[in-house]
Symmetry: C2
Subunit: 413 residues, 2 copies
Amino acid sequence: MEKQTKFVEEITSMDVDFAKWYTDIVKKADLIEYSSVRGCMIIRPYGYAIWENIQKNLDKRFKDTGHENVYMPMFIPESLLQKEKDHVEGFAPEVAWVTHGGSEPLAERMCVRPTSETLFCEHYSNIIHSYRDLPKLYNQWCSVVRWEKTTRPFLRSVEFLWQEGHTAHATKQDAIDETIKMLDVYADFCEQELAIPVLKGKKTDKEKFAGAVETYTIESMMHDGKALQAGTSHYFGDGFAKAFDIQYTDKNNQLQYVHQTSWGVSTRLIGAIIMMHGDDNGLVLPPNIAPIQLVVIPVAMNKPGVVEKATEISEKLKSVVSVKMDDSDKSPGWKFSEYEMKGVPLRLEIGPRDIENNQAVLVRRDTREKTIVSLDDLNEQVLNILSEIQSDMLSRAAKLRENNTYNARSFER
Amino acid sequence: MEKQTKFVEEITSMDVDFAKWYTDIVKKADLIEYSSVRGCMIIRPYGYAIWENIQKNLDKRFKDTGHENVYMPMFIPESLLQKEKDHVEGFAPEVAWVTHGGSEPLAERMCVRPTSETLFCEHYSNIIHSYRDLPKLYNQWCSVVRWEKTTRPFLRSVEFLWQEGHTAHATKQDAIDETIKMLDVYADFCEQELAIPVLKGKKTDKEKFAGAVETYTIESMMHDGKALQAGTSHYFGDGFAKAFDIQYTDKNNQLQYVHQTSWGVSTRLIGAIIMMHGDDNGLVLPPNIAPIQLVVIPVAMNKPGVVEKATEISEKLKSVVSVKMDDSDKSPGWKFSEYEMKGVPLRLEIGPRDIENNQAVLVRRDTREKTIVSLDDLNEQVLNILSEIQSDMLSRAAKLRENNTYNARSFER
């Protein structure tokens, strides 16, 4: 039970080399695998399950705020990309160009979408006619491509998964309200589900999204004291509307341009979770987003009744949390390390003596604190501890930021 | 209340021109919109909501049978595509080629995935080492691109959404069992959820998937008496394993090639639903997959208490079915036609006299049968009728096939 060092030896300490520690974790926790496609990653089942949980939670928040999902083409004809001047200048240098279909050269080349403003705008110009058609509150879950030179798993890759919201409104104020509302949805999601406290702010003109009037951002301080942009929400004014001729007839029968927004978060959030909560034993996942919330590890499996009891407990727990039981023939020590590496929030150990005493041992991933609990009220105890872990993770993250925030009155610290 | 002809005039009758009737429906029911991207469609909120329901249901079936979701790159380097000879011959003529990243020509061009066997195989060759690593049961939800010359919404488009399962097994028998199992999952899904009866069969050598030993298919007879392929499941033998060197060490410490399968269904299923169940008034959706299962339409909305009662009923119904209440200022007749066009399975009408009598009128979309029901047991009645609609739709579809099936003993019928 003390062989907790197996994997620990294998990953670089975060204090020695934070970047190396990060890439060690994404590989060892089975989140990604590299592929032979330059700058693209393979998201493995465990990594993808985290993304599915993020998606499910965010998608509900989007629908609760009145948004609908759509799917637009993945290609953008060059002439369409060029319609908004700032936008094309920002994105053209980093797109992948399709020039041939089968053996035929295309009459007009198309890029793989780096973002879909131009497609949504073209669509909006076709379907928005009257004030009755507004607002249009659309969202899309898809993958996008940006031809990045230097890539890092989840943080910056040639292809990544994301969602992009695109909305059109009757008035400037409606669009500004939407921009702020979705920034708030992101901030609340990060804090409540990912246990990542964020600061909201505005980007400088130089850092704004290509084509935006204002770009709002949520940023978070990672374990190495550096900031990571976790999501952005853009107010477009009527710039795209003018470029794409998106007009509607208002109540007074006057033609007006719509006011637009877009907003997005991506698989980069998984990178943020790693860098915010991980430690030298691996990943640490917030319970609200963990694919496995509790792992049951039977100890002394050869003793009669142990596996049966562990199975019984697992089945009972499945009604309240996401459970995995590992009764493989690996050693308990190996399993402890494995699920610590994978960041499973809570571990339940049960052996012959525990069974005798009608109890189990719960070990928190974040603090490694052990609690012995009675099997009689196991479900409630597990729910309580998971909820404690979730809120403690947020507090610790907030404290880290607080401890590393200074009033800068000069260039020295 | 009798103006049910408004939209009816606008769509072509299926007996006059089935193809035109089909494209009328996809547009008028707001399922898709055409885009300026050749052969690519925009899937609108209502169409995408049907796809989300298909996804959710199938994804559960995949997970229940032990499959895990992953995400692979959308690009395939040309040299990787060429590794399996039959496969590249089948797909190379119909792929989109990316030749430039930003302003730089690529050293090696890449295609946008038409299907991902080659990527999965490369990945499997990296992660499969021992018999303990088998089986690998992976699935991917994504979009793929095939450079089709003639396209039709949902049925054949340049880009479409689908899922592709890719599995690797220790033995030939395991792989054959998986191939058949997933064909059965598809068949059961089509019959139970989409109310589409299917015939299972094997493709001829000429029609097999490029690289497969056997291709199994489910085919269904559409309203025009023609067959539509609704899903396929392929047994690969060890052909891909040999081309990609996917070997494992068996229990006797011998190197063995894995045996593989792949299987997929796509947004084409939405096309199948339209052609199987639709009529001259529009779409008819099976309740199990309908984004809106019941629409509440208050009649004589200006009378006191009507909207309030309709709202109260809607709220109650929401606990058991997916409900939309339409209290917009359009006429009841317009609304009747609109939701018939959209294929909403059940319509609830409620007016002042109904309220007086503590009743509501339910109208089935499939048969237009009206039932007057008491408000006291409305929820149960609605559930009963929806379940009846679901099974009646399957029976009618089965009957259509039966009535159009003949023993062919000569070339004359």
